[in-house]
């Protein structure tokens, strides 16, 4: 665990050293803030003291934001050869994968923490449902965790960051749209299986304030599977 934390801290530092973190934070807050407060079906259009609008927008921001932070994690290490440096030290493949995962998830959590003023503002405007707001944030974090592990897996396949980004985005598209829409067109167990595998199916209820163990387990399982496969890919080096 100590080793993973050393890796996570180093990655977080390099996010903030290289401007990546600032650009992404500004883009995320700008994008989600604009659609939450200023434009389209924003908070004032709905005339409800709830963060539902934000949760829907945040989903889309994170959809692009997460592949952008995970793409370099393994691709760059492989390209520059520094992965050899890391994995010949007192560090196992698993500790490295967990360290990278923690760094990316922490950066997402920091981005989400910056949206807490939205919560405070809306709470002052009207009678907000605190419970559903908390589950909404929890849902965002769980979904991010699944996307981070998918992104890391994509990054472990290649030493080209662009390829890693596109792969992660492609996987995102599959989980976000394709599974759900194909599933709803099918009947029987295939249809329900595909729908069960799609991310919005589990995220939507959480953003409305319902916590179901099934949804939580789904995201945790997806995270676990992604990280495990990443470890397998990393250990298959030549």
């Amino acid at each position: 665990m100590r080793e993973s934390w050393i890796i996570a801290r180093k990655e977080l530092n390099s996010f903030f050293d290289s401007l990546v973190a600032y650009i992404l934070l500004i883009a995320f807050l700008g994008f989600s803030g604009f659609f939450t407060w200023l434009w389209g079906s924003d908070v004032f259009y709905h005339k409800q003291a709830s963060l539902n609008t934000f949760f829907n927008v945040a989903l889309w921001s994170l959809f692009f934001f997460i592949p952008a932070i995970t793409m370099r994690q393994f691709a760059e290490e492989k390209k520059s050869g520094t992965i050899e440096l890391l994995l010949t030290k007192r560090l196992t493949d698993r500790q490295l994968v967990i360290g990278k995962y923690l760094a990316c998830l922490l950066l997402v959590a920091i981005a989400l923490a910056f949206t807490l003023p939205y919560y405070v503002s809306i709470a002052r405007l009207g009678n907000i449902d605190h419970g559903s707001t908390i589950t909404g944030y929890l849902g965002l974090l769980l979904m991010s965790s699944a996307y981070v592990s998918i992104g890391l897996l994509a990054s472990s396949f290649t030493n080209n960051q662009i390829v890693a980004f596109l792969l992660a985005l492609l996987a995102g598209v599959v989980f976000q749209f394709i599974l759900g829409s194909v599933g709803s067109g099918q009947t029987g167990w295939i249809g329900s299986l595909l729908t069960d595998l799609s991310i919005p199916h589990h995220y939507d209820s959480m953003s409305r304030g319902v916590i179901d163990t099934k949804d939580v387990l789904y995201f945790l399982a997806l995270t676990f599977l992604g990280l495990m496969l990443t470890e397998v890919v990393i250990s298959k080096r030549k």
Binding site: S14, T82, L85, T88
Partner: protein, 306 residues
């Protein structure tokens, strides 16, 4: 710590990179790993450092078998091309490597400072690694390899791309540090091996083709010695004919610059005497006679070009 390698093999897509090699490195020994590109040097080093696992064979380090136990902590490794995090400052990078090698917090700062002084990085310690010249980057690579004072150092081409002065400096550094460690270093530069290493291993097509000190390799390599002589007093063909008829001489030819005669013989000492006696008896002038050492380059070419 001693390194013992037995029957090590590794293949990439049916192509054998390392083919059943065995050797030993004892504590305090610096072993030079020589071989043409693609001979299997880097693959062997990657297996010793546990970056990749062998298909067959066993690596024992300090009595512990590698596959069963994680002994990465006792190895310092400088990979080929010296990969580094370009955007990290030197001090931060060394601290990061030290932490990963399990150095405790209260000793970390002191250890980083020691390495900075030892590797001559004091002037550059606050710069980002990407801003350093090649020589300094190499020092950073060595510093990270040695930060936890490992018993074993594996250095993959530590002096490539350095100018002659830097090469001497790095060489001295390795020699100084290698006194109480087991060191394996690979290189293409042959004089460097002679200057730095106690023993030479030449590897070709995945197999060890020579193993020994520079001296033993020389004597094994050809089995014959060469004498360069300059004799005056008779036409050259006459002298050549006379030399050829002497016992112990296996061949006579012209030296590359066509000025001297090159005598191939089994025992240069004995042959030198008989050549001298022959000249005295014929009343010829012996102007010059010198034994030629087989160069390491020739040995290398001999065993790697088949």
């Amino acid at each position: 710590m001693d390194i013992l390698i037995e029957g090590l093999s590794k293949a990439y897509d049916n192509q054998k990179a390392v083919d059943n090699i065995s050797f030993e490195v004892r504590t305090g020994e610096i072993v030079g790993f020589l071989g043409p590109n693609g001979a299997g040097k880097t693959t062997t080093m990657k297996m010793i450092t546990q970056f990749i696992s062998p298909d067959a064979g066993r690596i024992t380090i300090g009595g512990k078998v590698i596959a069963k136990e994680n002994i990465r902590g006792s190895i310092g490794y400088l990979p080929e091309n010296n990969p580094l995090y370009e955007d990290m400052p030197v001090m931060d990078y060394l601290a990061f490597c030290g932490q990963l090698q399990g150095i405790r917090k209260n000793q970390l700062e002191q250890r980083v400072r020691e390495m900075v002084v030892m590797c001559g990085l004091n002037e550059e310690k606050h710069k980002k690694i990407g801003e350093l010249s090649k020589g300094y980057r190499q020092r950073v690579g060595l510093a990270q390899a040695m930060i936890h004072d490992p018993a074993i150092l594996i250095l993959d081409e530590p002096t490539t791309g350095l100018d002659p002065n830097q090469r001497v400096e790095i060489r001295e550094l390795i020699k100084r540090l290698g006194m109480h460690k087991s060191v394996i270093l690979s290189t293409h530069i042959l004089p460097e091996v002679e200057a730095t290493c106690d023993r030479i291993l030449i590897i070709n097509k995945g197999q060890i083709v020579a193993n020994g000190t520079a001296e033993t390799l020389r004597s094994q390599a050809t089995g014959k010695s060469i004498l360069l002589v300059d004799i005056e007093g008779a036409p050259r063909p006459v002298i050549e004919k006379e030399l050829r008829s002497m016992p112990g001489i296996t061949g006579v030819g012209l030296s590359p610059d066509h000025r001297l005669l090159e005598i191939e013989c089994t025992d240069s000492h004995q042959t030198a005497r008989s050549v001298y006696k022959m000249c005295v008896s014929k009343d010829w002038m012996l102007l010059q006679m010198s034994p030629v050492e087989t160069r390491l380059e020739d040995i290398f070419r001999n065993v790697t070009l088949n």
